[in-house]
């Protein structure tokens, strides 16, 4: 995440990185800002209403940060209303790209940030735990997006039943659900399909060591299509690289400290794909526990 933001900043675009992972904040460390003077927690706790005042510079040109810092133990996730305010405020801060660093898990706050972004990036590691978390997250995001799209109460009830894995109607995949909805209410079916088409998460495979790991991205994309009926785009992979660890210890983004390292080259490529002019804000979610 830090690296994708840094890679775009190195291309001369103005980038704002925001750490919305209040419980596991560390983006400031990755970007070399050891003790940021302001924190998103101040906005969440109503201590500061002007989000722009929380923006701090980083050692990298064109890259600014809204950090989340410790010292606020028990900092709760912001309420739904507060999240809405935050998202509105983010749109008012001038930047070519805004990156939201999301925490792990399927908390509604994480899902909301993910869905609010123009691009949602899910990072997978080639491990069962990471894959399982990624699908749990996708499922949560999928149903939340659909709930937003649907209007009729009966259909939303059907959706709630489908979310319960032990449902009695025999709805097993989101595509089975589509059939049920179409039978119940064709107009809602059309809304469901339209929402599906706008739900296009991006995939990145991290820590790739073998060509099998690289192919995992294509396989997951196929499963997304077959199971969820959604088009996920495989943006690329980042190989396992010892240089990444060294740069982490040096508290600098790899693309800045070791721009010619393998992993930095891959990261820069992924950033270039994201920098497509039609896109503007990006949020990242980790499928893994790292």
């Amino acid at each position: 995440m830090a690296n994708l933001a840094a890679a775009l900043a190195r291309r001369g675009r103005s980038v704002l990185a925001i750490d919305v992972d209040l419980e596991g904040a560390n983006l400031h460390t990755c970007l070399g800002v050891p003790s940021p003077r302001a924190s998103l927690a101040d906005f969440v706790a109503h201590r500061e209403e002007d989000l722009a005042k929380l923006v701090v510079d980083t050692p990298l040109r064109h890259l600014r940060l809204i950090a989340a810092t410790q010292g606020h133990l028990g900092a709760a996730q912001p309420s739904h209303v507060r999240r809405e305010r935050l998202l509105q405020a983010i749109h008012r801060i001038p930047a070519d790209f805004v990156f939201l660093d999301l925490g792990a898990g399927t908390h509604s706050a994480v899902v909301d940030y993910f869905l609010a972004a123009d691009e949602g990036v899910i990072v997978l590691s080639p491990e069962p735990t990471s894959i399982e978390n990624a699908y749990s997250f996708l499922r949560a995001a999928f149903y939340r997006r659909m709930r937003e799209a649907l209007e009729s109460r009966a259909v939303r009830r059907l959706l709630a039943q489908a979310m319960d894995q032990r449902n009695e109607r025999g709805i097993r995949t989101p595509l089975d659900l589509l059939r049920e909805i179409q039978a119940l209410d064709p107009a809602e079916g059309a809304r469901f399909v339209a929402a599906l088409q706008h739900f296009r998460p991006r995939l990145v495979v991290n820590e790739a060591r073998t060509s099998e790991d690289i192919k995992l991205g294509f396989a997951v994309r196929s499963v997304c299509k077959k199971y969820f009926g959604i088009d996920a785009e495989y943006l690329g992979y980042v190989n396992h690289d010892e240089a990444a660890r060294r740069s982490m210890i040096a508290r600098r983004p790899l693309v800045d400290s070791h721009p010619t390292a393998d992993a930095a080259v891959y990261l820069t490529r992924i950033a270039a794909k994201l920098a497509d002019p039609r896109r503007s804000s990006v949020s990242g979610s980790r499928g893994g526990s790292a």
Binding site: Y135, S211, L216, S222
Partner: protein
């Protein structure tokens, strides 16, 4: 956007109707691997039975599409049976109306897998060890496979990638290794060999000099 049970052979393999034999072959291998019983990608989504069902469908799709006669007959049946979509089939209707995106060749575009665009953008003509490895991984090759084809000791191939120049044999051998490696990965020998050898010679000279400077 159809349930798996309603997908035709092309949709199942995620290839366009006009896919050629090589595309079908690649798509088959990719999907077969994706839904293999030990595949990571289906973990926690497809149960054993579902995955088995998928594999059987994929087998059938491949059997039909890889046989020109059976494929022709199947295409005919698709064209004949493909009705004007019933009004209730909204998903299908919308799928048809959706403007063609420039990526409906998902699995089929392997081995270059859609990453070659950025490769070209980077305009890199310098082939160092990492560049060789990237080319190999894009091809989906393991070092052992290259070793098997070229009969070169895999350890030396690894040294090539890691640029452990001092552990490699004399330059005339290395030149041969690089050439064979490049050929396996479908790279242009005339670009790769001089580029890599330049690094190799420079790397070795530097080492030799520093060794001379420190007699102990």
């Amino acid at each position: 956007m159809k349930p798996i049970g309603e997908q035709n052979h092309y949709e199942l393999l995620e290839i366009p109707r006009e896919a050629d034999a090589a595309e079908i072959e690649r798509a088959y291998r990719m999907t077969q691997a994706a839904y293999a019983s030990d595949s990571l990608a289906i973990y926690s989504v497809f149960g054993d039975e579902d995955a088995l069902g998928m594999r059987e469908r994929i087998e059938l799709a491949y059997e039909v599409l890889s046989d020109p006669d059976r494929r022709r007959a199947y295409d005919g049946s698709l064209d004949g049976h493909l009705p004007a979509p019933a009004p209730a089939d909204l998903a299908f209707e919308l799928e048809r109306q959706r403007p063609a995106r420039n990526e409906p060749k998902p699995l089929a575009s392997l081995p270059l897998a859609g990453f070659d665009d950025l490769e070209a953008e980077a305009g890199s003509t310098v082939y160092d060890g990492a560049g060789l490895r990237r080319a190999r991984m894009r091809r989906g090759l393991e070092l052992e496979q290259i070793a098997h084809v070229t009969k070169i000791n895999p350890t030396y191939l690894r040294f090539l990638e890691e640029e452990r120049f001092d552990d490699l044999p004399a330059s005339v051998y290395v030149r041969g290794f690089v050439g064979a490696y490049a050929r396996c990965c479908g790279l242009d020998l005339r670009a790769v060999v001089p580029s890599y050898m330049e690094r190799f010679e420079a790397g070795r000279v530097a080492r030799t000099r520093s060794r001379q400077g420190h007699p102990f």
